[in-house]
């Protein structure tokens, strides 16, 4: 049986040229009317020849006419591009088929193609058509290429209505499609069905996709992912008949907010916070679009932005927050045919102040303990002058590391000449850093390097390694010798941005008499901030989890150096601290379908959290508890927007998460058949296109790519070629042979 109606044509107007099929007849008739006249002597022989050949000549003429007429008809049909609205294969009666429908679930499928339709609706309609055309006894499976892929109907179902119900309840697309994982899932689904349903003799896989380049082409020409993709294509083509339905729009134009982030390390109420928005235009013509930024629903910034095709446009603006706590931000570009990526959300926690713990390893008992006193002044130099201060330092002895109920109360911890680190201390410091805390370690005469290296350094358990370098022996110069000089390494590290081009700040002139040698392990991710001239690193840093660790090889007071007395000390300490605090905000920025995760220390066993989604739906989430920590994990982040998490009693704390779409899907360029075959899928696959009238866009009567490659057109063109050859052959034969 052939699943078919009459074929549709991509260019129906071309069919008018079928009238040209009458041209050979017309020429034939005209040629009978247009002739030369000639006197002729040998008439009797000519007449005899004509009489003998008359019948054959007539047959030859009709044959040539037929060939030429057919040639024109085939040519016109080929140019009109018949779209295969019928299946390109036949199904033997009685042969049961497992039909697997794989939908491209990337959010580019939401592209609107008209006032009412969009690519996703057409995808669903194509899937329905495939379902409705199945035979009784055929099995149906449905797989969504998502992140991760979802087998909506895994085992073959024979209930068409149930299948259609699943299809109709698929939500709007907001995520990316993981192609490799989806194909692996498809393959395993087929293999499983062959085991469980051996009565299904044949397998068809129908991919329905817009063939987005960003979806189908893995990064890098020779990436293992691409190789894997080709392997999967080969495996699938061995297991099943493959059909790829191209439902992509022909000339999509899209603009998007591809990035929205805070430029400053953290937002405070004391100074304006700077933000950066990046916009992209995926089209051909420049456009000017209005951009708005909203904070907690109120517009705080507006600008007309000129966009150039494929040139990222960056917009910066500053805002001074009046209130602390979490704020929901949204950058909003005028909506186009793909509205999803015209909004980008940001969750910002504005700190009223930053709590900094200064752990004094050698408290002096005096009011001014040099070990931490210089630091305290450096962190809050305007104490008693300004009404508010960003940093709130708190000096505590080293016992605080074990006694403090929750280190996460602090944003950063300074260890100042703390002699020994114990395993218990390491166990408390590690999660503090992992979850975004900043740890800054000043060494000193009391420091026993072995204990640091044992519990925090390279010798520690991999889970507790915090030190960016191995603390080596102490290196000193006597007071009679020339002190060590600091090498700022051409101010390459971002911490030193303030000092760059400003030699009078005196950073390079700071005398250092004693320091611990710091040995950075090979293949370490640690970076050097400052060196001792000709003698290796003095300050190094490393990111651990979401936090940062900074190790300073000398003291925080003047015993081993003159830094605290140098005017570069205050900016250096503040910049080191700002750097160490960078990052905690990132945990509140999530991509759709990725879980919201957060952990808090609580003594309550039945702590709950309520999540309010962008659709204003509230969901109570049970927390997972391990030890004194309660972990939130919320997976239903399908919609982009700001998600509010309200921690129940006894915390009663509110926080916001921003969930955004992956901007890679905003580039709607699609693959042509040639590109698909050459770069991705050399294995056998049939390409088909459906093009209802509603999807024809202005100025794109013929779409590039697949429509030209519909097998019917190719076959017809082969027919044209064959007829051309036949015409030439017949013409030659009739003219030269009797």
């Amino acid at each position: 049986m052939v699943l078919a109606q009459l074929p549709e044509f991509a260019s129906v107007s071309m069919l008018g040229w079928l009238a040209a099929a009458g041209v050979p007849f017309l020429i034939h008739l005209l040629s009978k009317r247009r002739f030369r006249e000639r006197e002729w002597a040998a008439m009797r022989y000519l007449r005899s020849a004509v009489q003998k050949r008359a019948k054959r000549i007539r047959v030859e003429q009709w044959l040539l006419l037929l060939v030429r007429t057919l040639l024109i008809i085939l040519m016109v049909l080929a140019i009109a591009q018949p779209l295969a609205s019928q299946m390109p294969y036949t199904i033997k009666v009685g042969e049961r088929v497992h039909r697997v429908i794989v939908l491209d679930g990337s959010y580019s499928m939401n592209y609107r193609t008209g006032d009412e339709g969009d690519v996703w609706k057409e995808t669903l309609q194509t899937a329905r058509t495939l379902v409705e055309s199945h035979q009784t006894g055929d099995g149906l499976s449905l797989l969504l290429m998502d992140s991760p892929p979802q087998a909506i109907v895994g085992s073959p179902t024979f209930d068409e209505q149930a299948f259609l119900l699943e299809l109709n309840h698929l939500p709007e697309r907001t995520s990316r499609a993981e192609v490799v994982a989806s194909l692996e899932r498809t393959l395993s689904l087929i293999e499983e069905a062959k085991r469980t349903n051996p009565e299904l003799k044949r397998t068809e896989v129908h991919f329905i996709s817009d063939l987005g380049r960003s979806t189908w082409i893995p990064q890098g020409a020779d990436s293992p992912e691409r190789t894997r993709l080709q392997e999967l294509g080969t495996s699938l083509s061995r297991e099943a008949s493959l059909v790829l339905w191209n439902v992509g729009s022909s000339r999509p134009v899209n603009h998007a907010v591809v990035d929205f982030r805070m430029v400053d390390q953290f937002a405070t109420m004391t100074e304006e916070t700077e933000f950066e928005i990046t916009l992209e235009l995926y089209g051909r013509e420049p456009e000017t679009k209005p951009l708005q930024v909203l904070i907690d629903g109120s517009v705080v910034f507006e600008e007309q932005v000129s966009l150039e095709p494929r040139v990222p446009k960056t917009v910066r603006f500053g805002h001074l927050f009046r209130h602390g706590g979490f704020h929901a931000m949204e950058a909003r570009l005028q909506e186009d045919r793909l509205p999803l990526d015209d909004h980008r959300f940001l969750s910002v926690e504005v700190k009223e102040s930053l709590h900094v713990l200064l752990v004094d390893g050698r408290p002096s008992g005096d009011r001014f303990s040099p070990n931490t006193g210089f630091l305290r002044i450096a962190l809050n130099p305007e104490q008693g002058v300004a009404s508010t201060s960003l940093f709130e330092p708190e000096v505590r002895p080293e016992t605080v590391l074990l006694e403090a109920p929750d280190l996460s109360f602090y944003d950063a911890i300074f260890l100042c000449d703390v002699g020994r680190i114990t395993a218990s201390e390491a166990k408390r410091l590690q999660p503090f850093v992992e979850r975004g805390g900043g740890l800054l370690i000043f060494l000193g005469p009391q420091v026993v390097p072995g204990s640091y290296n044992r519990w925090l350094g390279p010798e520690a358990d991999p889970d507790f390694r915090l030190l960016p370098a191995l603390i080596g022996p102490r290196i000193s110069r006597s007071e009679d010798d020339e002190p060590f000089k600091i090498d700022p390494r051409q101010y390459q590290h971002p911490v030193l941005d303030l000092f760059r081009g400003n030699p009078l700040a005196g950073l390079a002139d700071t005398p250092v008499y004693t320091y611990h040698q710091l040995d950075m392990p090979q293949e370490s991710s640690a970076e050097t901030i400052l060196d001792i001239q000709g003698n290796g690193p003095l300050i190094v840093e490393q990111t651990v989890g979401e936090g940062k660790v900074v190790l300073i090889g000398t003291t925080s007071d003047t015993r081993w150096n003159e830094m605290p007395r140098w005017h570069s000390f205050v900016p250096l300490v503040q910049e080191l601290l700002r750097f160490a605090l960078q990052g905690p905000e990132e945990k509140f920025q999530v991509v759709v379908d990725q879980p919201l995760q957060y952990s808090v220390r609580t003594l309550s066993a039945d702590l709950k959290a309520t999540v309010t989604t962008p659709g204003n739906e509230q969901e109570e989430v049970n927390l997972r508890t391990s030890g004194a920590m309660s972990h939130l994990e919320f997976h239903a982040t399908h919609l982009p927007g700001n998600y509010q998490v309200m921690w129940g009693p006894p915390l009663s704390q509110k926080m916001l998460f921003a969930v955004n779409v992956d901007p890679r899907e905003s580039d709607l360029r699609s693959l042509s058949v040639e590109e698909f075959r050459e770069e991705i899928w050399p294995s056998p696959i049939t390409f088909l296109t459906q093009l209802p009238e509603s999807r024809v866009e202005p100025g794109s009567a013929t779409a590039p790519g697949f429509r030209q490659q519909v097998s019917w057109s190719t076959g017809l063109l082969y027919g044209v070629l064959a007829l051309l050859l036949l015409d030439t052959l017949l013409g030659w034969r009739f003219a030269h042979h009797t």
Partner: protein
């Protein structure tokens, strides 16, 4: 090509006005081109009288001699030593055909042949006669060896125009009856007629002990059929018009015309008639050579 021989070329002849001039040039050109005269060593027997014996034909009695000498002498021997050449020219309308590739029409070409052969014959003191025909015998000039006669013959050729269709069979029979004295009959025609009656006519001529040469004339287009466009062919001899695509029928036509020519040639061979196929774009040397060969044979019999 030697300067003297260029006059055998139809293109050159076409540029010459007047049949006499053309004949003169042809013969002069041919003779000059020969290394050795074909007439060398040839001696014509002088006329003599023979006494009458019972049974002789009284028409040949030389009455002048009888008047002077009272003896009956016959003039028979004088006549027998001369060669009689009968030029038989087809002037039917089909002979009027001339294609773009040919410099002369078939009739003009045939006239050149006749004029040239006539001049050759007269140069050798022989007699030449001329008969023209189409559907019927149109003109007949009895053989004679005088210069005046030759001029009369040229005048007749000049004045001759193609008139009607061919009817060779009856004509050849008629001529066989008219040419009472044995001679060399030279037929110049395209022979576009029924082959069988025509061959019967030739057979009749041979039966009368004539040597016969047939110069079978074709225009190059009749032999090549080089046309391409659809053409309405109008017959020269009042045949119905015929519409044809030349490319479609060319091969069949060539087959027909070649079969006709082969049949004529075969028939001539059968009746011991000298057959020469000529095309109007060919040199006339071939026609003269074949004629001389036949003449020599005839004289030495």
């Amino acid at each position: 090509m030697q300067p003297s021989q260029k006059y055998l070329d139809p293109q050159t002849l076409a540029s010459l006005q007047g049949l006499e001039l053309r004949a003169h040039r042809i013969v002069e050109g041919y003779v000059a081109g020969l290394h050795k005269s074909p007439f060398q060593g040839y001696s014509v027997e002088f006329a003599e009288h023979r006494e009458y014996v019972p049974g002789d034909d009284l028409r040949y009695v030389d009455w002048k001699v009888y008047g002077r000498t009272d003896k009956i002498y016959l003039k028979r021997f004088e006549e027998e030593t001369n060669l009689l050449v009968y030029l038989v020219l087809d002037i039917s309308r089909s002979m009027h055909y001339q294609s773009d590739a040919a410099s002369l029409s078939k009739l003009e070409y045939a006239k050149c042949i006749c004029a040239a052969l006539g001049r050759l014959v007269l140069m050798q003191q022989d007699s030449v006669g001329l008969a023209t025909f189409d559907e019927a015998l149109r003109q007949y000039l009895r053989p004679s060896g005088t210069a005046q006669h030759f001029k009369q013959m040229l005048h007749l050729l000049d004045q001759t125009e193609a008139i009607d269709k061919t009817n060779t069979g009856p004509i050849f029979h008629d001529l066989a009856e008219r040419f009472t004295k044995r001679g060399l009959v030279v037929i110049v025609s395209d022979l576009f007629d029924d082959v069988e009656p025509m061959l019967a006519g030739l057979k009749h001529l041979r039966h009368r002990k004539h040597d016969v040469i047939v110069f079978h004339l074709f225009d190059p287009a009749e032999w090549e059929f080089p046309f391409r466009d659809a053409t309405l062919f109008r017959g020269l001899e009042a045949e119905p018009e015929l519409m044809a695509d030349p490319r479609a029928v060319r091969q069949a036509y060539l087959k027909e015309i070649q079969a006709f020519q082969a049949e004529v040639q075969r028939g001539c061979r059968l009746h011991q008639v000298e057959y020469v196929r000529l095309q109007t774009d060919q040199s006339l040397g071939q026609s003269i050579s074949r004629f001389l060969a036949a003449r020599a044979k005839r004289v030495h019999v």
